[in-house]
Amino acid sequence: MFLPGLLIVVPLLAALLVFCIRSGGARNFITIIAAVATMALSVATAATYLGQPCFVSLPGELPSTVIMAVDIIVALAIFYYTMVKFKRCWIGLLELLQLAMILWFEHGAGHGIKVAADLAIDNFAVIMVLIAGIIGSLIAIFSNGYMEEFQKEHPEVEDRRPFFFFVIFLFLSAMFGLVLSNNLLFMYTFWEITSFSSFLLIGYTQTEEAINNSFKALWMNLLGGVAFAAAIVWLGVQYQTVELSALLKLGQGAKPVEMIVALLVFCGFTKAAMMPFSGWLLGAMVAPTPTSALLHSSTMVKAGVFLIIKLCPLLGVNHAGMMTMFVGGITFFFASCAAISQSDGKRVLAYSTISNLGLIVLCAGIGSYAAAWTAVMLVIFHAISKSLMFLSVGTAEQQLESRNIESFDGMFCALPNLARCMIIGICGMFLAPFGMLISKWAAMKSVADAGNPVLLLMLAFGSATTLFYWTKWLGKIAAYVPAEKSREPGIHGVQWLALKALSILTILACVAFPLLSQHGVTPYVSAIYNTTADVISRSNLLIMSVMAVLIVLLPLGFSAGQKQKMVVTNLAGENTGDNLSYRGVAGKTVQVSLRNWYLEDWFGEAKMQRYGFGLSLLCMILAFAMMGGGVFHV
């Protein structure tokens, strides 16, 4: 009880502190202390509660009053930005709508509802706390060095670092609150805070593009918020409860809660950037890299899938479940196709995030024991590898002055250590024996068991396209282009700290995969489904672990073997000797430059978006129409 409270309060205090203190040195010091404290607290929480789920009820009127007050404050802040400062009133209306619903509910139907458990600290919540706590804090530490450089490189951007770190810590605090809540009214409040914080972070640079994109993120997430509020009101009015655990019990007791579940899932879609709401996540790229890393890996989008996975037992072969599966599957496939045609490193990462979230949502939609296990596993591995990827790309962008993958060739020689981090990240994203792939394995099994051939096909094709865009990128990094000098000294010490910690974490998670499953994920899933089973047999997990160790050890033998005679490569004419130019027609020296392959005609972004948006929108409309029909007939 004490620990979860601290977990929310400490980042909040840190946020206020960094906002008030204007001296750069003191701020750096406080961010690092606060990040370390948050990390330690999340580990302590994990140590206390892992394997010992507990429900906590907060006594008295005070907590709900505070939550109400926060709701109103956030709403006022949103009104200020939408109606006063930037004059986009219709977005403010979305907020007004949900605030009205919540206030009406609190003072009317919801007033007398007794809440048995406000907080639920189960293994899944603990895992999410660890993800947000460790990865989020590492990103905060990284930002320290990164933002310093960022401000130097972009003198036109106003230095609002106190504000930046304020929002980062506010975000972390809200994220902890969100994953620990069982009372949906609490969760809704934290949900709103994360939506609002992401709006602030995306708009950091205050360029026109940034402002437009931040409003895009805001309206999409507020739309989700409206669905959330509607779900709370519906649940409260019909069943006199506002607890997530009670909703699960109602659903498992065959009560008709489908519409409520579908509304919550819809809300999850907006936050998890499922198509057609993927636009805001792509737009978030305009913000400084740590923002993207935070939104993509450990917080924002993970909150969306967190809610959907929590609802897992109620999904499956019903309208809400079908909608979840298909929207997830469609997003997985089309986003991974769109990633092929992108050359901007951050956009590739964004599409890969969207696609992986699609996979997670697909698993959650299937709703079986194995699928739930897979979904949680995917969340863990995606969080670690994706944050590593974002921080690596951000660092490379600063050193190479471009985040285009085309300019990454030669990284292997110019930035060897950074290239190593990036290779670990990429391998973690798609290659066996790393976690993402093991999870995909389990996903295939669950989809096959669910008996849906269309989804199986999406999974098989999506895996192939995923392989294509990652390997393409890997090839670009591995390309051996001799460099004049190492560019690594330019990288800040705290940046290395975060990068190395995440690389080690990625490898550790892969090697310790069986332990992670046994002590973390399996107990949670077993408790929810009242059964236990091995999703992937122990012997296979062991083989994968051994293979992971093997892959880590292999580079030690990098230069072993006979001495090789070095020669120049075969170019279109006589190589001038450095592999970078050749003597072409009429003795002219021609520079060699190689470009990657993007298959625009096949996988063009606009085309993929058109199909993806259309199909997933169709799924949602159909599902809601069918449920609506059902509700009003009964």
Partner: protein, 294 residues
């Protein structure tokens, strides 16, 4: 005790693969060259020629364009061997396919690493080939899972009727992508044994000597493993059924040689679209049927 015996049996089979696969693979390559030569009214090299070639390559002075290349090729060989070992020691089919995928990624990266234009074209084509066959490979494993309820090769060969009867569509799909995996025309885009249709040497442009020998060896291992997948379709519980399985492996390999000699290389667009269409039509119809049967 029984478990132990089975385990030891599996490992013996796995080790047998490690020793015999290069012999069988090399022989198959020799037979391939002989048959192709006869189809083209040539005498052709001796059956043992592939072995002579590899030994000769092995003895050459190691020449490379950079230090990284050999490392990736070793990875290719290691994981190709490992995936075959998993298969014959009765591992999980998905594990086998994933390991095989690592092997092909290593090969592609090796080609990318040399940073030469011809090599990169080869790497990209190889990657397009991987993208073309990957969905079907996964559907093969999932098809067996749907039909037999397991990914375990040992149980699959013990099923009560010939698996092919229930999975003809998936078998057709597998045969189609085998043309890509065996690097046969019309799908030998990334590297080809036919000089007249090759862009310098495709993905192999910058690779020579012992490193090239390793690639050849890895392909032999890989080919035997792929024929193992064909074997799974035609072997079931009776003791004599392995004969059928082996005969069908031989037949499939022969058919691929015939196709190889009848076709010239197609554009990558045709390869990708046709492979995906075959996967969509044959694979999907069959998978839907299997799901309906369950």
């Amino acid at each position: 005790m029984c478990d132990m015996a089975v385990n030891i049996g599996n490992i013996v089979l796995g080790i047998a693969y490690l020793v015999l696969a290069p012999l069988i693979g090399g022989l198959l390559a020799g037979i391939d060259r002989k048959i192709s030569a006869r189809m083209q009214r040539r005498v052709g090299p001796p059956i043992m020629q592939p072995f002579y070639d590899v030994f000769k390559l092995w003895d050459k002075q190691p020449v490379a364009v950079n230090k990284a290349q050999r490392f990736y090729i070793r990875g290719f060989l290691l994981f190709a061997v490992l995936s075959g070992f998993f298969f014959f020691a009765h591992g999980d089919l998905l594990l086998v396919i994933f390991t095989l995928t690592i092997a092909s990624v290593c090969f592609v990266i090796a080609a990318y690493a040399s940073n030469s234009p011809y090599s990169q074209v080869g790497a990209e084509r190889e990657l397009a080939q991987t993208m073309a066959y990957e969905p079907m490979m996964l559907l093969v494993a999932l098809g067996f899972y749907l039909h037999c309820g397991t990914f375990d090769a040992k149980e699959i060969v013990q099923s009560s009727a010939m698996n092919f009867i229930y999975m003809p569509g998936i078998f057709i799909g597998l045969c189609y992508i085998l043309l890509i995996k065996f690097r046969k025309s019309p799908f030998d885009l990334s590297m080809s044994h036919e000089v007249h249709q090759e862009l310098i040497q495709g993905a192999l442009t910058e690779i020579s000597g012992p490193t090239l020998a390793m690639i050849e060896l890895a392909h032999w291992y890989e080919n035997v493993l792929l024929l193992g997948f064909v074997y799974l379709f035609f072997t079931w519980s009776p003791v004599w059924s392995p004969v059928v399985g082996l005969a069908m492996c031989a037949f499939t390999y022969f058919s691929d040689i015939v196709v190889d000699n009848c076709c010239s290389r197609v554009k990558w667009e045709h390869m990708l679209s046709s492979a995906w269409v075959v996967t969509l039509v044959a694979g999907f119809a069959n998978v839907a049927f299997l799901m309906y049967m369950r």
